[in-house]
Structures are given as structure tokens and as C-alpha cells.
Amino acid sequence: MNTQVEICGVKFKNPVMDASGTFGSGIEYSEMVDLNRLGAIVTKGVANVPWEGNPTPRVTETPSGMMNAIGLQNPGIDVFVERDLKFLENYDTNVIVNVCGRSIEDYVEVVERLGDEKKVSMLEINVSCPNVKHGGIAFGTDPHALEEITKAVKAKAKQPVIMKLSPNVTSIPDMAKAAEAAGADAISLINTLTAMKIDIYRKKFVLANKTGGLSGPAIRPVAVRMVYEASHAVKIPVIGMGGIATAEDAIEFLMAGATAVAVGMYNFHRSSAMIDCIEGIEKFMKQTGIQDIKEIIGCVV
């Protein structure tokens, strides 16, 4: 039985990874989760310099999900390389570094800095964070801006580049095509859906940022649809995510066309969520007589 997948020449022992921002850089969960078993670890977004993030409250629960407006608090690339990347060198898994920035120059600086880091298998470019005022989603909602940043990053990147797309657009196929045309090696989606929650007793927004990104099982059917649309619009591989909780959910994304999948918010609910998905996929393959996981990727058309 083969659960291995390949994306842009990078081999993954299985198609399961975390969605950026829900697993730190693995350090935080390493006491409870064997990181060696994961297909990859996708780190929390890192910028060229430290970012403070937004005021609190930054998170709140919603029906079968949550909203967040962290605002990409991060230690910056120097601390990240010295501490987080060094820590990850001890593990036998791919590392995908999620890169964020306020300007194209910011992104490129991080990408160049990571060029010689052997432990970094791929780069994921976050052009879809809805919670920062500059950069982030601004690049991910306009096809021309997306093409521009993709080209700039690709010109300097030494590792394969994944563009992480926002669902807050009119046409996902158009955005996927724009990323592909500009040279992206792969795309990942969906990031969170821009959302709002009001405390009716205090007559105030629940999150200090007013809006936040919605994630969790509540958004899964939207994500499956968008992953299906994107993977039929482009030839480059798609990493699918959005509310994956169980192996069945992960398989749904694979059948919709994703080559690999990411577990996000559900990691908060159960630290073993990714391991449960990996084991569940193997069980499903055994029960339904599937020899190679590639047989189910994009099998529903």
C-alpha cells in the first residue's frame, strides 16, 4: 500500500500536514504528537522582521469552528531560523515555511534568506491573511497583484513555491490560473473566510479587529468546492484544506483533486488530529482495496 505523494519533486511520506498557524512550528505540540509521522510541517507565517499582531481578543468560537484575527504575530526570520528551523532539523519530515509580508520586498527578503536552508523543502506564500492591513490578502484578491508577487518570489526562490489562496474572491479558478501563469509550483487553499461576530449584550464586536478569519468544519463544504474548482483550472498540484477533522474529510479533499491535505483548526480540538487522519486514510485504503493513494486523487470529476 502506498500513501506517498510527490509535489514539485518533494516526496511526502503521506499527504497529511498542518495548516499554517494552527501548529506553531511543531515545537508547541511535539510533547504530544510524533512529528516524524507527518507528511510535512507547515510553519506559522514568518516575516522579515518581528510582528506584534493585533490587540486581543484575537480568537472566538463559532458554530463548528472559530474566528481568529491574530494578525500574524511572529518573531521574524532571524529568530525563526535560529530556533524553529534548528528544532525541526531533528525531525524526519518535510518543512514548508509559510512566508508573510507587508510589501513584495518583505516577502522576497524572507524567501532569499531561506534559500540556503537545507531543511526547508518548500515555501508557502501567504497572500491571503484577512487580518492584516497591509500585504496579506491585498495580494490574494486581485489576479494582477497575485501574478506580480508570484513572479517576484519565483525569481528569487530556491525552493518550490506554493501560493496560498484566499477564498474571499469572486472566482477561485481565475486566481489559481493567475498563480500558475506567474510560475507558482503549487497552490494551497483555502485560507480563512472573512467573518464577523457581534456581542449583542455589550453591543460590541467580539474580536478587537472587528473581523476575523472563519475556519473549522463549518467551512468544509465551501473549501471542498473551491479545491475542486481550483484543481480543475490548473495543472500544478493543489494542497487542500478547510475544516478537515477526520480521515473521511481528508479523503474528500483528495477525491476533489488535492494532492495533499492540511488539518487546521481541528488540531486545537484534538492534538492527535493529523495522526488520526493518517491512520484513517490507511484504514480506508485497506478496506476499499486501494493500493496507491494516487488512485483516489481527483477521482471524482
Binding site: 506584534e52 480568537v59 468560537e61 481568529n68 504575530q73 518573531p75 486545537f268 484534538r270
Partner: protein, 262 residues
């Protein structure tokens, strides 16, 4: 830190909306007063763990006690728990109250406001075991409507003073008012309660020239320091992002009052 099932051994209502449960869990082996657990509900609609402070610990029996106020879905489900029911728990999380610098002569002042009192009970218990003899506990309550929950339990380990909003028991006013009214002397303060109370305690400690360690609350998602949802502005550069935004779940929930901007 582990995540696993914990079985309810005892469940009781202490006052209006205030409940206490003892749970059988491996977490008891390493838990310290001031740490907390994340409790999962049984509902697929409510997926984030509920951060609840550990109120007391029986290491040998492998049990922890949670005392909580019903504020929403998760705490309501927990309040309806029957003996034998199980809940998924993650913990122990965060740093407890620092007691390593205390000597038997240290005058310790515990200040708990409302549902902030429970985590101090386990601390009072531990101080007694450590042989710290001069422990005062000032507990603040709403008054007649809310009941003086846990006050009797504290009497086993400390000299207890009460403050109530309505003046029905003890000092009519805040816990800080009670400290002044009774002229309570202290070398160190440990506190937990609502933010205005903690701000007042920070000032009180500065005025007395002593240290105060306060336990903070914030909305959390992961509880392990991964999501950066629950931060507080700190004087010192924080351990994770180096931007003076410390994670309450990981660097806290107990902070030296001087260190946090509240």
C-alpha cells in the same frame, strides 16, 4: 502535557452557577497550583477546549478538582456531569504560582475575586504542606446572591477574610478594601480574579513594595502556545515572538504584576 479522557468522580453545586468536580486523570501526576486544563465538550458544534484552572490536586489519588462558573455551553455541559461521565482533557498547561522562593517565615497573601478564588485553594493547600505558616486569604464575592463558595475550604489552610459587593459578609467593598480594613501584612501576593481587581492589586503591591503574582484570563484556542491567540502586553521581551506580547497560556497564566501592562 497530555490529552486524554478524564472520569468524573464527584460533582457538586457549590452556589448559584458555581460547580465543583473531581476528575480522575493522569494530569494530576504533574499538575501544579496555578496551571490549567483545556476541557473538550461532547458537541461537534463547540470545538475549542475550555481553559479552566486547576483548583486542587490529589497527586496520589490521581485526581484534580475544577471549580467553575457556568458562563456558556461548555461550562454548562460540565456542570451537568454525573459521576462516571468522561471528558477529554488536555493539560497541565501553563506555569503555576512560583513558590520556590518562599520560606516558612514568608507572609503570604492570597487574593481571589469570585471565580478567581478556586486556583488559590490548591496553592493554599500546597503552602500548608510546605510549612508556610502565615497565610492570609482575602476572598471577594458578590454577596448574598452568589454565596461564599470555597470560603470554608480555605479556612483549613489560611486566615480567611471576606469582602462582598453588597456588604452582606465581611468588608463591604473589594478585596483591596478588605486588606486595608484588616491591615493585613504580607511579603508576597498571589491573586486571581477579574481584570479591574488585578489592576488594583498591582497598585497595592507597588504601594507596599512587594511582589504580586497574578493569574490572567483570555480567550484561547490551542492552549499550548501555537496559535498566539491569548497574549498580554509585557514589559520584558516575550519568549516567543520577541515583541512584548507574551502568551498567557504558555508564559502565563501567572505573571508578576509588574511585568504586565494591565
Amino acid at each position: 502535557m497530555i490529552q486524554g479522557l478524564a472520569v468524573v468522580k464527584k460533582s457538586e453545586r457549590l452556589a448559584d452557577g458555581i460547580y465543583s468536580i473531581w476528575l480522575d486523570t493522569e494530569i494530576a501526576k504533574t499538575a501544579m497550583p496555578g496551571q490549567f486544563v483545556m476541557v473538550n465538550t461532547h458537541s461537534d458544534a463547540h470545538l475549542l477546549g475550555r481553559p479552566i484552572s486547576i483548583s486542587d490536586i490529589r497527586k496520589e489519588a490521581g485526581q484534580i478538582r475544577l471549580v467553575f462558573r457556568v458562563v456558556g455551553y461548555g461550562s454548562r455541559e460540565l456542570s451537568e456531569a454525573k459521576v462516571g461521565d468522561s471528558f477529554e482533557l488536555m493539560g497541565p498547561m501553563g506555569n503555576g504560582f512560583p513558590v520556590d522562593k518562599l520560606s516558612p517565615e514568608t507572609k503570604v497573601l492570597l487574593m481571589g475575586g469570585g471565580i478567581g478564588a478556586p486556583p488559590l485553594l490548591g496553592l493554599a493547600n500546597k503552602l500548608k504542606k510546605y510549612g508556610v505558616e502565615q497565610v492570609s486569604a482575602v476572598l471577594g464575592y458578590r454577596g448574598e446572591t452568589g454565596g461564599l463558595f470555597l470560603a470554608e475550604d480555605f479556612k483549613k489552610f489560611a486566615n480567611v477574610y471576606i469582602a462582598t459587593d453588597d456588604g452582606s459578609s465581611g468588608t463591604h467593598g473589594t478585596v483591596v478594601d478588605a486588606v486595608r480594613e484588616n491591615d493585613i501584612q504580607a511579603d508576597i501576593i498571589f491573586a486571581c480574579g477579574p481584570m479591574p481587581m488585578l489592576s488594583a492589586i498591582k497598585k497595592l503591591a507597588a504601594e507596599k513594595g512587594i511582589s504580586a503574582y497574578i493569574s490572567l484570563e483570555e480567550r484561547m484556542a490551542c492552549g499550548v502556545g501555537a496559535c498566539l491567540g491569548c497574549v498580554v502586553k509585557t514589559k520584558k521581551v516575550d519568549g516567543h515572538s520577541h515583541v512584548n506580547n507574551s502568551r498567557i497560556c504558555t508564559e502565563g497564566p501567572v505573571f508578576e504584576a509588574e511585568e504586565v501592562e494591565i
